[in-house]
């Protein structure tokens, strides 16, 4: 499959990017690593008239620490997250999430911003132009049906990115820029929960930075996929835990792969809060997580399995976060 002909722009600074986005709006697509965008373009899922490449904008590519905490430029490559010793030491979940994406080649190209903005996926959507001719247009492409949840009234495409749950479990903020200015919002407000348009980003906006200010939390990201590489997670879970005198003072449990956006398991968190780090507590939390998440059968993976797996993965995530305590 080939790209259709298009215009290619590569401004040298953020301002240049924002100008292009402001001028061309829907006709422009932001090219970061391209690992998701180019496939969608070849499938003719999107047909931008021009792409604006972030590749020349060095100022979007950094990992730095200041009084706010950790700042990561949206253009930072996933492998650069993995290579950062300070991230590995302070927020191991981010490192673990970045290193579970696809394959070395894709991690070398893919960016943090791209992973945060990753579109939802569905076997009825991520297909070629010719393939989709065989089916009625679904919600995701502007139609009125969902082929996954037949009779459903919305798009059920799945959010499957690895790093967002890790950022969310650390209460990260995201900085969004447009020609008219900048805003910083909690990442939790970035996601809409809608399969059709999973985030709030407008056509003229660009994600420029992720900010993590949490302190003292132990964290982990675990994911389960059918094969060991080049596979989206069936389920991914990030856990962050604040321990005090052997008890869990605060925590976050965030899933990927179970809905149209990352899903925070608040009831599961409540079970953990204030309890000692004991097998029985973890077991109870896992059980709660299993019933708290509401995945549907998708891409040939049964909902029942996903629910049960969700519990097992929560257990693994908590234990992995605690290992970091000992290690």
């Amino acid at each position: 499959m080939r790209l259709s002909s298009l215009e290619y722009l590569s401004p040298r600074n953020v301002k240049g990017i924002l100008n292009v986005l402001s001028e061309h709006g829907r006709e422009a697509a932001i090219l970061a690593g391209g690992t998701d965008l180019l496939v969608k373009m070849k499938h003719r899922l999107i047909r931008p008239r021009l792409v604006v490449d972030l590749g020349m904008v060095d100022k979007l590519r950094y990992v730095k620490w200041d009084k706010k905490g950790l700042r990561i430029g949206a253009g930072t490559k996933l492998y650069e997250i993995i290579q950062s010793d300070s991230i590995k030491a302070k927020f191991p979940s981010l490192s673990q999430a970045a290193s579970s994406v696809a394959s070395p080649q894709i991690r070398n190209m893919g960016t943090v911003g791209g992973n945060i903005c990753l579109d939802t996926r569905c076997w009825f959507y991520n297909q070629s132009h010719w393939w989709r001719k065989a089916i009625e247009p679904c919600f995701k492409v502007g139609g009125n049906v969902c082929h996954v949840a037949r009779g459903g009234d919305r798009c059920w495409a799945l959010f499957m990115a690895d790093t967002p749950p890790a950022f969310l479990a650390l209460d990260a903020n995201v900085k969004i820029a447009s020609k008219s200015g900048e805003r910083t919002i909690p990442l939790s407000q970035f996601y809409t929960g809608k399969g059709k348009s999973p985030n709030v980003l407008k056509q003229d906006e660009l994600v420029t930075e992720l900010i993590v200010s949490k302190n003292g939390y132990k964290s982990s990201y675990v994911r389960f996929s059918f094969r060991e590489a080049i596979d989206f997670p069936v389920i991914g879970v990030s856990a962050s835990l604040l321990l005090e005198d052997g008890a869990i003072r605060d925590c976050r449990i965030v899933f990927t792969g179970v809905g149209s956006s990352p899903v925070r398991a608040s009831a599961t968190e409540e079970i953990l809060k204030g309890k000692g780090v004991e097998e029985a507590v973890i077991e109870k939390a896992a059980k709660e997580a299993s019933s708290e998440i509401r995945p549907i059968s998708h891409m040939e993976i049964p909902a029942l399995y996903k629910r049960k797996l969700g519990g097992a993965m929560v257990k693994k995530a908590i234990k992995k976060a605690l290992e970091e305590v000992d290690g």
Partner: protein
């Protein structure tokens, strides 16, 4: 055993450098001046009548040079074999009257570049009248099911049945009888090189086709038939091929379309499938339902087998009848079972076309039989290994289908694989969640199925001393050119590097059936050996003159001829050639032909016909070690030990490569790979969503043990048998049986994905309501 210099040695492939450096040119790399690019518009409906095709708008697009539809072929349906039988010849190169699966080619366009050709496809309007469709064989066979081909009642492409002994008595004699139904999924070859063809219809009216093919002559016959030109006007050249595994056999829509578009445009036309097209429009391994009823005596002897195999061949037969027969043949051959009834069906549905795939027809039923044998072994408290040994064939046996097993290394493969893997010894000691499993295999070494296709090779010694081996055998990555060159070098007493191989150009190389049914090493190998022996005879004649010795006393080895037992009485190969040249005895040419002597030309896969077609069978055993993550259901393969009786390994490194590749591919079939269809639509036509095993999923190099068993078959060159297809059969059942060993779960449907394992475990724990 004779001492060999070149055969039996692990020599690097003669084309390794070209491939590793990227210098090797595949069909898709070729370019001719003025070349156009072709694309094929495919049906997006599973079953529909083509009412009208309007190409006017596409024609008007600047840069579009030619457009063809199904109506541009002769209308003679094609398929394997001449004279054509309706059970094969059910296809048009592009659909004429109706489309029968999503992906059926309908219109082809040639344009000055690929983007334009793509754009043109969007402008073509095809009027379809949609027909009811059917997507599984059971429903297709039911009364009132949509009829896909006029001739095929209840969509039965073929139904084959063979009965041996007294089935009733066999079950009466049994102490234990067990019935199971197994299902295997459609999977794909996933050769790294997609299908490609480049055609040039020369002004003089002759056609040259460069194509990624496993065979030249079935393709040429089908082209002649559908284009309406004599075979002699068609030259087919096979450049380097990046894997076939059964998917690059016979005429495809792109071969025909490139040819006819070239005729219409007067320019060369190239068509390359993209990966999605490979997935939907090439071939798959038949999804199968295998019903087995097996009777066993107390001591483990199998007394009766009643088997029914149903294959989903998709919208067209392709090789469906052969696939159905091969399953039957392998069930008959693998174990000594006195009483049998075997029924095998190839059934039309509106799914994409199934066809030959490595381990053709055998993979599905042998998986089922091997899995059931382990269930029986547990039920009867017999060791799984003993179960196989008790029923194993031995060399010299004649099977109920009258195959003479001229050699059989089954027992040796079982012993060696079990010893090396610790199957019996370690099984009892494994912790919970760990398992060891065994799987056995047998497969044909070649098929003698077409009287018009002999096996021939020619060797020429030129005036400059260089040696050329001409062969029609298709090297598709399996290394056949190297194997054949080794044979020639061995007989001529020269080095492997002294042989230049020119292969698979129908205008240059001798007629050859192609690379399928694991026939090249045995049949082309024997032909190459015969050609080399003829050249050797002539070279020795020259040497006898020079050395004033009797031919019988001479030997050719190490690039010289010498008198055996008389040190110093020798001439170098170069002097030999100079002398022959001076005496006008060059070039020396030898042509060798091979015909299996005790095997006829049979087409037992056509209902009503019979006969045998294979000279010998390979045998093998795989033992796999796995562990199951009880919390997720995921199966991890940690070790595989794989012993294969290839008769004699002409190149042991190549045989090991086949064993290692088969292990990973078999693992994919057992655990990950599946083509998911939704009403005939393939849901995962990409390498992201179709899960081939990656290097991280496969066991590490030190945990893969390849064992070569050499039973020295009298019919093969140096004793060789096949090593390319039989190897793929045993890994999947060995993995399934290891999962059974680890968990006690009887999962009778492949692939054994984590959700199946986990939900079965939960059901047993009582956790799922």
């Amino acid at each position: 055993m004779r001492e060999y210099s070149i055969v039996g040695k692990s020599l690097p492939r003669i084309d390794a450098k070209e491939k590793l450096t990227g210098a090797a040119e595949y069909t898709g790399d070729l370019r001719l001046p003025g070349m156009l690019f072709g694309k094929i518009l495919r049906s997006h409906l599973p079953h529909a009548i083509i009412k009208n095709v309007n190409v006017e708008r596409a024609k008007g697009l600047k840069g579009v040079e030619a457009i063809i539809t199904g109506m541009d072929s002769t209308g003679d349906k094609y398929g394997m074999f001449t004279p054509p039988s309706p059970v094969f010849a059910d296809r048009d190169p592009l659909a004429r009257d109706k489309v029968r699966f999503i992906g059926d080619g309908v219109v082809a366009v040639a344009a000055v570049d690929e983007d334009l050709a793509d754009e043109a496809l969007d402008l073509i309007e095809v009027d379809y009248e949609e027909l009811p469709a059917v997507f599984n064989p059971e429903e297709a066979m039911a009364e009132g099911a949509p009829k896909i081909h006029d001739y095929a009642e209840r969509n039965v492409n073929v139904r084959l049945e063979r009965n041996f002994g007294d089935l009733e008595k066999g079950f009466r004699d049994a102490d234990y009888v067990r019935e199971d139904i197994f299902k295997t999924q459609a999977v794909q070859h996933a050769a790294i090189e997609p299908h490609a063809a480049l055609a040039f219809w020369e002004p003089a009216g002759k056609l040259t086709l460069w194509a990624s093919k496993q065979d030249l002559y079935f393709t040429r016959g089908d082209l002649s038939r559908t284009l309406g030109i004599p075979k002699s006007d068609i030259r087919i050249i096979k450049p380097y091929v990046g894997g076939g595994f059964g998917s690059k056999f016979e005429l495809f829509d792109l071969d025909f379309s490139a040819a006819l578009l070239s005729k219409k445009s007067g320019r060369p036309v190239k068509i390359c499938y993209n990966r999605e097209e490979v997935f939907v429009a090439s071939r798959t391994r038949h999804a199968a339902t295998i019903q087995l009823k097996t009777g066993v005596k107390k001591d483990g002897t199998i007394s009766a087998l009643d088997a029914k195999v149903i294959l989903d061949t998709g919208g067209y037969a392709a090789l469906g009848p052969v696939s159905a027969f091969l399953g039957l043949l392998m069930l008959v051959t693998i174990y000594r079972i006195p009483n049998m009834r075997i029924e095998s069906y190839s059934i039309y549905t509106n799914n994409p076309i199934a066809g030959a795939m490595r381990g053709h027809g055998a993979v599905q039923p042998i998986y089922a039989l091997e899995a059931q044998l382990d269930y029986i072994a547990r039920d009867m408290k017999i060791e799984a290994k003993e179960m196989r040994i008790k029923n194993s064939r031995k060399g010299g046996e004649v099977t109920p289908l009258n195959s003479v097993l001229s050699s059989c290394g089954m027992l040796e493969s079982i012993e060696k694989a079990c010893d090396s893997s610790g199957l019996v010894k370690d099984r009892v000691k494994l912790p919970e969640g760990y398992g060891l499993g065994i799987g056995c295999s047998c497969f044909i070494s070649g098929a003698n199925i077409d009287p018009n296709l002999p096996f021939e090779a020619t060797i020429k010694v030129h005036t400059d001393g260089s040696i050329t081996l001409l062969t029609g055998a298709s090297d598709i990555g399996q290394g056949s050119s190297t194997t054949l060159a080794q044979i020639a070098a061995e007989e001529l007493g020269v080095g492997l590097e002294d042989i230049r191989v020119i292969a698979t150009d129908s205008a240059v190389t001798p007629v050859e059936a192609g690379s399928y049914s694991s026939r090249v090493t045995v049949m082309s190998g024997n032909a190459a050996k015969a050609a080399a022996l003829e050249v050797r005879r002539q070279l020795l004649g020259v040497a006898a003159d020079m050395l004033e010795a009797r031919v019988d006393d001479l030997e050719l080895r190490g690039n010289r001829a010498f008198v055996k037992g008389s040190p110093g009485r020798e001439v170098t190969y170069d002097d030999l050639v100079s002398y022959a040249y001076s005496k006008d005895r060059l070039p020396i040419t030898g042509t060798g032909t091979f015909r299996p002597t005790d095997v006829g030309v049979g087409r037992p896969f056509i209902p009503g016909e019979g006969g045998d077609f294979t000279p010998s069978f390979s045998f093998g055993t795989a033992v796999t070690k796995i562990n199951v993550d009880m919390e997720t259901g995921k199966v991890k393969v940690s070790e595989i030990t794989h012993a294969h009786d290839c008769g004699f390994a002409i190149n042991p490194m190549s045989v090991e490569g086949q064993l290692e590749g088969s292990g990973v591919s078999g693992q994919g079939f057992a655990l990950y790979e599946k083509l998911y269809y939704d009403k005939g639509k393939l849901m995962n036509p990409s390498f992201l969503d179709y899960r081939l095993a990656t290097s991280l999923d496969a066991p590490g190099p030190s945990d893969v043990r390849s064992i070569i068993v050499e039973s020295l078959d009298p019919k093969g060159p140096y004793g060789a048998k096949e090593a390319g297809e039989g190897t793929i059969i045993s890994p999947a059942p060995s993995i399934a049986n290891a999962v059974f060993d680890a968990t006690g779960l009887e999962i009778k449907e492949l692939p054994i994905t984590p959700d199946k394992v986990f939900l079965a475990l939960e059901a047993r724990r009582g956790g799922v309501r």
